[in-house]
């Protein structure tokens, strides 16, 4: 009736529960069982970037400001992030996952996918549920006894993720054609990954109030009217367990952003920080083996105004110096004001052409210098050699905690 995929559930989704907060509770036993959270830098109006389950139970959410949190729970404990600790947790989690399948994909710092397609012969009759419990135990043994993960097993990426979120924390569930409808009966529309307020309103306007109404909807209705695009067909198939999310996204931009520690309008303070942001952008660019043809800079000011500027160039570039020079040209055109937020990124990315021979001596020297510095940093540790202009910036800006992608963490791991 529903045309549900009968394919075996061979995708496993692993999700670390409240990753950063749990890692801190693992490291500090006195914080266990208490409402606590993690912030990038403790300040008057800092916000919570990860909250423990005890805090979540009180209604404290990620993104809440310190004052809001303290109003809910005056005893709330806030600690600063510790990126090397999370690096280590991430590295160990990847190591565990890789020992089960060569086909793993980290979706973010705290969640990843294992694809078991084609691996049935080497599983020797072991079910994915058994493997899931084994991974849970290994996480406790190899990372820490307080670490908890959710494991979800499904016939496609979407259902595996849904299964991982079914019984939080520390759950293990499997969703396939045998229990798919029962599962949809037990949840709300907004429990579906990708259906937030906007999409919920869209579905509601066509009389779809529950996931069961959603799966009952006709493919053409979803495609032509509800989503008015191919997205409707994707949803039709995704909900039924067919794989449509197995694709690689193109890299569109590489950059960094930073909430200025002490908002300022002075170049003496801002330029070293800008230089440091450009250095990390350059590192990321070369790590991804791409070159850029455009730079963008965006600034938020203390008075609430936002200013941005961009410039596209004919020739691609990749060195820290080039990025900084180009950013500086734009930065110097900024209106006067106290800067509280800086966003820099490079766009129009093209595959690196650094392996091509170059006729011009200057270009060759530039390439050798960058390569030498990168090799030294790779061998002796990140930021062993960097430009003098970034010296003060490095002292002020903390290492970034990536949420969306894991590329920067991979870069740090490679260099550590």
């Amino acid at each position: 009736m529903y045309n549900i995929s009968k394919e075996k559930a061979l995708i496993m989704h692993i999700d670390l529960n409240s990753a950063f907060a749990t890692a801190e509770q693992q490291a500090h036993p006195s914080l266990r069982g208490k409402p606590m959270g993690v912030t990038n830098r403790i300040s008057k109006e800092c916000c919570v970037i990860a909250a423990s389950y005890e805090a979540k139970a009180l209604g404290i959410k990620v993104g809440m400001r310190r004052s809001e949190v303290m109003a809910i729970c005056p005893k709330f404990i806030l600690v600063e992030t510790d990126p090397p600790k999370y690096n280590d947790v991430y590295r160990k989690l990847i190591k565990i996952m890789k020992s089960y399948s060569p086909k793993i994909k980290m979706k973010s710092i705290d969640e990843g996918l294992l694809d078991f397609h084609g691996l049935e012969p080497i599983l020797k009759g072991q079910s994915l549920t058994e493997i899931g419990y084994e991974i849970k135990q290994r996480v406790r043994d190899e990372i820490g006894d307080y670490m908890r993960i959710n494991v979800g097993i499904g016939s496609n990426r979407f259902l595996a993720k849904q299964a991982a979120g079914w019984h939080k924390p520390d759950g293990l569930d499997k969703i396939d054609h045998t229990n798919l409808i029962d599962y949809y009966k037990s949840i709300k529309l907004t429990d579906l990954t990708g259906i937030a307020k906007h999409n919920q309103a869209r579905l509601n306007s066509y009389g779809m109030m529950t996931p069961i109404d959603f799966i009952n909807a006709d493919e053409l209705l979803l495609k032509k009217q509800v989503f008015k695009s191919i997205t409707g067909t994707y949803w039709y198939r995704r909900l039924r367990g067919y794989e449509i999310d197995d694709y690689e996204t193109n890299l569109g931009m590489v950059g960094r952003q930073w909430m200025v520690k002490d908002p300022s309008s002075k170049n003496d303070y801002l330029l070293p920080c800008l230089s440091y942001l450009c250095e990390t952008t350059g590192m990321k660019l070369r790590f991804r083996q791409v070159e850029a043809r455009g730079v963008y800079i965006g600034l938020s000011f203390q008075n609430g105004e936002y200013w941005q500027s961009r410039q596209t160039y004919k020739t691609p570039f990749y060195t820290n110096q080039e990025i900084y020079q180009k950013m500086l040209e734009l930065f110097n055109k900024r209106p006067h004001g106290t800067v509280k937020f800086i966003r820099v990124y490079c766009y129009n990315l093209v595959p690196s052409g650094r392996n091509q021979m170059n006729l011009f001596e200057d270009a060759v020297k530039k390439e050798w210098l960058t390569k030498a510095v990168d090799e030294i940093n790779e061998f002796y540790g990140i930021f062993t050699v960097y430009s003098a202009g970034s010296l003060d910036g490095k002292k002020i800006i903390k290492q970034k905690i990536p949420f969306g992608g894991t590329d920067y963490f991979d870069l740090l791991l490679k260099q550590s």
Binding site: A23, Q26, A27, H28, P29, S30, L31, K34, I42, R66, M70, F76, I77, L78, V79, E80, P84, K85, N87, D88, V89, D141, E142, I143, G144, F379, Y380, G381, I382, T384, S416
Partner: protein
């Protein structure tokens, strides 16, 4: 709000290196002498390595059952430093 007390002082440590143990607990500090008193660690929190230039630093988060201690072992200089602590009674 932040219960961490920064200390940053060299300390005397008694360490055990196990011949057979899971990777995370191959080496663990057992006792520490700090401000004249002897602290025995009863709970292992976490250990993670980090690089400072070419120096390898191992960070140990330990607890004596009441307070949490963050210790750094410099594998090149062979020094132990008590970086910070969290007083259990505070939290």
């Amino acid at each position: 709000m932040d219960p961490t007390i920064k200390i940053n002082k060299r300390v005397d440590i008694i360490t055990i290196f196990y011949a057979k143990s899971p990777e995370k607990t191959l080496c663990i500090p057992k006792k520490m002498k700090y401000k004249g008193s002897e602290i025995t660690f009863t709970t292992f929190g976490m250990r993670h390595p980090t690089a400072r230039g070419k120096r390898m630093i191992h960070i140990f988060d330990m607890s004596d059952g009441v307070n949490d201690y963050r210790l750094e072992f410099d594998a090149e200089g062979l020094t132990w430093t008590l970086i910070s602590m969290i007083e259990g009674s505070y939290v």
